[in-house]
């Protein structure tokens, strides 16, 4: 299990390759790459602020939870911070499993949870001003799909 919070870009191909070498029982690697969108309102750049320490702790807890819910052979989460421009990669989630259903479910679970639990905040720049992006109800709704009935 790999969790990295970093300013630098990452290489999705290298991460997928690393997930696939965890054993010959791995049949499926599902992955997700999130990119900065330009937007119709002409966003020129954004700065991702985060809470060092809590970020890694929360992401590690999400990965542990995914491993409890699905039979996984590997999981990698990388999230960037700092200034990014449209087209830049922001986030990578990759999951290896024997079967594809578990790989897809865990991958979606992790990105949905990242969106609603990992302490990152986006400050968008555009047309000479900047504004803090507001959280989306839609993201909360997607994350709630994974809540267990206890």
């Amino acid at each position: 299990m790999t969790v990295r919070v970093q300013r630098e870009d990452f290489d999705p191909g290298a991460e997928i390759a690393a997930l696939g070498v965890g054993g010959t029982e791995i049949g499926a690697v599902a992955s997700f790459v999130g990119l900065v969108r330009g937007g119709t309102d002409g966003v020129a750049a954004m700065t991702l602020e985060h809470y060092p320490g809590m970020t890694e702790r929360q992401i590690a807890a999400m990965v542990d939870e995914a491993c409890r819910r699905w039979p996984l052979d590997g999981a990698t989460v990388i999230h960037r911070f700092g200034r990014l421009t449209p087209g830049d990669r922001i986030v990578f989630v990759g999951v290896a499993s024997r079967h594809r259903a578990a790989a897809f479910a865990a991958c979606e679970f992790l990105i949905d949870w990242l969106k609603t639990r990992a302490p990152f905040w986006k400050l968008e720049e555009g047309a000479g001003t900047s504004r803090w992006v507001e959280a989306k109800d839609e993201d909360d709704a997607r994350a709630k799909r994974w809540q267990k009935e206890d």
């Binding site: 999130g34 991702l48 602020e49 985060h50 809470y51 320490g53 809590m54 702790r57 929360q58 999230h79 922001i90 986030v91 990105i111 990242l114 969106k115 609603t116 639990r117 990992a118 302490p119 990152f120 905040w121 986006k122 400050l123 803090w132 992006v133 507001e134 959280a135 989306k136 993201d139």
Partner: protein, 83 residues
């Protein structure tokens, strides 16, 4: 006690971190917020809509009634927007 602010809470308060000596009688996150609001107009503005503020104690999410102990790291921030 170390208190951290992120995103627009930091902008409004003007600093990202404060080392505070809490007066007696502040035993929960909610009580801490009420006291912080009295410290400056910036603090008051940051906490004016409690529904927009999330809290963490020792880097885990915490509700208003979460107890505080000496040495805790407390953070306040808006709903997250990463990913």
């Amino acid at each position: 006690m170390k208190v951290l602010y992120f995103a627009w809470l930091r902008s409004r308060i003007g600093v990202g971190e404060e080392d505070l000596c809490l007066p007696a009688g502040i035993a929960t996150v909610g009580e801490l917020i009420n006291w912080l609001k009295t410290r400056s107009p910036g603090h008051a503005a940051a906490f004016s809509d409690a529904g927009l503020v999330r809290a963490a104690v020792n880097q885990d999410y915490a509700g208003l009634d979460h107890p505080l102990r000496p040495g805790d790291e407390v953070a306040f921030f808006p709903p997250v927007t990463g990913g």
